[in-house]
Symmetry: D5
Subunit: 146 residues, 10 copies
């Protein structure tokens, strides 16, 4: 099979600049919780990205075994993303509060409610019954304590 | 103020390859829900990244007005991340199920329980009381319906 | 749905080199005002870029809730860009003067006036009535004071 | 002069992937105003970046002629940034409104006023006396008209 | 905590060019087995890379729950890498033969045997008892059949 | 021969940021085995990538000598990938165990068996007859010993 | 307006790794003239690149004000490029000599003269009447004096 | 020789995305002169960059033959840069005029003359005696003729 | 082992944009010899790069088996580079002539002979006894025949 | 002239991260011969790449002077590549031996001879009459002497 003339021709050897291997050398100390939350915010992206990657692979594949393996792996990437988000919420209470607010804001946002109503719905959501959300939404502190 | 001799010298003009501007040209049709979920998985990363960026800016800033502006903006980036995650859960029920399982898995994971117990706790979490999670966890379908 | 044969096939896992997470480690001291202005010049770009990104998302989306969320977020990104520009003008008086001049230059530029007239219009604009622009336009000092 | 042993050694030939030269080939049609605004949002970044670049060059240079040339050029880059921002405000009325609001929000933000007060100050700013801001702040339209 | 003066300052917002989301659009047809093997060769790298990433995270983390989650995830990334390699061996018999030869070559390589002996040991390994390796090592065909 | 009008025109000089040449300067000490395993995980990717590259070259080439040379080289890249994988298995017993499990999991995965059965098959595989796999699968230790 | 089906879809948020902002921190000392020449060689590229960028913008724009602004800015970028080249010639006499030679070489090159004649024409050009070019062309010294 | 502990460790295989090889396929037609000027603006950068690269190599090398070869090559890169600039001036008369103006502007810039005087000196320079600069400086045309 | 405080912390997941896998799709036709030579010019770089990579690995490794494997692989990468260069010389007679000239030029270059003598030595080398170099050095044809 | 609707639109300002200019600062000492060989392996790539670049420029250009200049420059890039390869062979005797072997291997490779015969032909080539190849092929030493 051949491409029609004029198609773009991507044929160069790929970039290989990956995760630096000397991680053992690279951490001068254990992370504070604020730093750990920062790392987790970064780690979520490749997990979500992997879901997309394997979904695309599945779309292009007919080989039954390869399809089965990829579906299995893709599902575990979903689990990784979920665990990562749950850890972020544990380490960053302000994010956890926003997560509760966001669920409550979706309904008024969806029906085009004015900003004030959306905001008010969020405040209600933040104090609703999820176990980790007793008090008021913590203000983002600006300077993480360590 | 000066760097000590021998410090690395980053002084080149930066890369400027940004979001392509011809978005209006670039979509041949409206997105399916599966495609929309893929986009949202990608959109979450820069929002989380922005939280990290502004947190670092805050750490390095004493200027009171700049601090206040950045804390305000950083908090809205947290809201954006939360809205994005909530939308993903609406569009990808399998991810929503994993999100519920993940919360339930944290406890046994944290005390070093064996894999089987962690997995079982997850199954319990997936059927717990969050409104969007009535039935069993949907299998990742492999080929999004459109 | 399928692409016609010969379409380009972008299908590789994406680059993941994001904001370094160890911001807390990375600042040897508080920023001077000149340095703060430099950072703000850099921070404006991703906010403007995010507006473009969400505008493109909106164009491609029919899902009403996703549209509402994205319009809400896009509007806050516009606010972030505006706050950033306002801070730059506070910290860099020369930029503020140019901002006033630019507004005054648009009219003669638009009707193809010669350079001298454009330049003169700018000088008038720089001393016009905006509250923050009392005196003459400060020369760019070349070496920021700290 | 020499670096102390162990300093990082950046010594490879640089990347040269620049602006594609076949711009004359690349535009199937004239831009709509919404697309033009998108382009301008992207064009602002390298102008601001150039200010930073030349400021850094100035800091490192003693050669009087080179200093004078760079200060001259840096000042024109500030003009370019200002013109670009002014054009964005002309083409995107919602951004112009946010620009007015942002100036009004800085004061309450700076003294730590609650979100509601900041928001209210913004609304006042948006209707203040700048010539281009007669009416209410336009809602971001979501789908640019063309 | 602060860096000593003169330390490099990585503080810019990160690159966000990730997996293109329109995978559903991007495959004109199902993959041949040769193409599938090519994709799997590419997919192995990010899985191995993820193992390295999480290993580095573990090294830098004291938070017990975060450690437990990451060890769990890292172990599943090892499983993904192994499944990917096993699929490659199924789809590329020449690679499977080399895999068997490589195990046999390690011993003579380790004791500094001459090339001829290493090569001969490989040939023996290629015909050893692994179920998928009955016949002679297939020559790399050069042009995949489709 | 010519491209039809409107084809993309890739014609810029390429990026040249390659392997830093001062490797002799860059290693403060010999690697631990855990670090060596990390490096090998990274080294596998370019070898697999090279197989893909030369396979694509072969597809596009009719010149008999060039075809013969590339087939020869491609085959040696397969050998390199196999040696690298074999070394990883020697240095990371947990990966070796997963490699054995993966072979055993393929069959139940291929016929769509439930997760528990796949997992159980893996456990059987991990203790099967490969010489390096006597005992139970080692847990990923989390913190490499050095 | 819509793209035909199958068009490439560039829609990801752009890379934002720009000029590092801590230039004030990054220079351990003032530059030597040789180093200054090196910097200027690098600074010329983005100025030339900006000319190309704005030329392409002009081609795609009908909006009269935007066209006028961009033509104005593009012309100043040409001035920046010219100033940069003039400074290079001041700081690197060998480059200045080559610049004079190049003008003289164009004529014989254009009519296909043999290399010896081209070279001889260059030697004549290097000693021709430009004020800064009195003596013989300085040899590239290999090791800049500082 | 060894780096002190804690030094950064650049040890990954480099990026290899170079000039696409299918240039023969990639040009639908011959270039217009305006397009040719755009290409030349891009081609100048790597030639100047190569001068910097070889200058740095010379600094680090004692091997006499390698030094001689590199000095020879570096000098030819200076010639390439000069030829490229001369071609740009031939194809873009506006750039040629700016080149003449720039030489004339350096003197008043160097003694801190006001902008008007610098500008006036430039106008004089543009009409001075260089053979290619008889008439007035051409306005940048905005839309290249083809 | 730990880094001293303040050391740079490279810890992000690596870029994974590798060789596009759809090579089978990407070539509209067989390559001409001129195009093949272009590809070979690109393929030489990663082979040379791999030699450097494995040399650096060897320097950092004490593990005897890993050392032996890498020395073996590095030596084959040298063979690949040599085969690639030999093919280039077969397909590009002008390059082959330059290769012969270069050997002859090294001696006069090394003793600082003037350019004319170096050039003359090259001409002699180009007609010396290597079997493939009977006639005069072919001029670079500018437009490859296909 | 215009692109047909739907063509890709590359219109962003290019990346400008080039060769770091502070080379004078960046070398703690003179290079060993092994390090010099590593640098030369890297320097060969951009020279070969430049040949490709100028060949593509020639293909797209009708302007006689521009064609003549580029052919002249391209030919000098071929000379640079040849000088670089010749220096590598001087500094890395193992590479020189492989270079001789490669020429001898081409013939049996081209007629599909078995690996053993190819290898044997290489051994003959390595001891053939090239002046620099008196003795046996040196083993790659693994650890460069300094």
């Amino acid at each position: 099979m051949r491409l029609p003339p004029g198609s773009p021709v991507p044929s160069l050897r790929g970039a290989m600049s990956q995760t630096p291997p000397f991680h053992a050398l690279s951490t001068p100390r254990k992370l504070s919780n604020a730093e750990l939350a920062r790392l987790l915010r970064l780690d979520l992206a490749p997990e979500l990205d992997a879901i997309n990657l394997y979904a695309a692979r599945l779309e292009a594949t007919e080989h039954p075994l390869a399809r089965a393996v990829r579906r299995h792996v893709m599902d575990e990437e979903r689990e990784h993303a979920a665990l990562c988000w749950a850890l972020i919420a544990q380490l960053d209470p302000s994010q956890a509060a926003h997560a509760r607010e966001a669920v409550a804001k979706l309904e008024p946002l969806g029906r085009g409610a004015p900003d004030e109503e959306v905001e008010a719905a969020g405040k209600g959501g933040a104090t609703a019954g999820l176990p980790a959300a007793r008090g008021a939404r913590p203000r983002s502190p600006g300077r993480p304590r360590r």
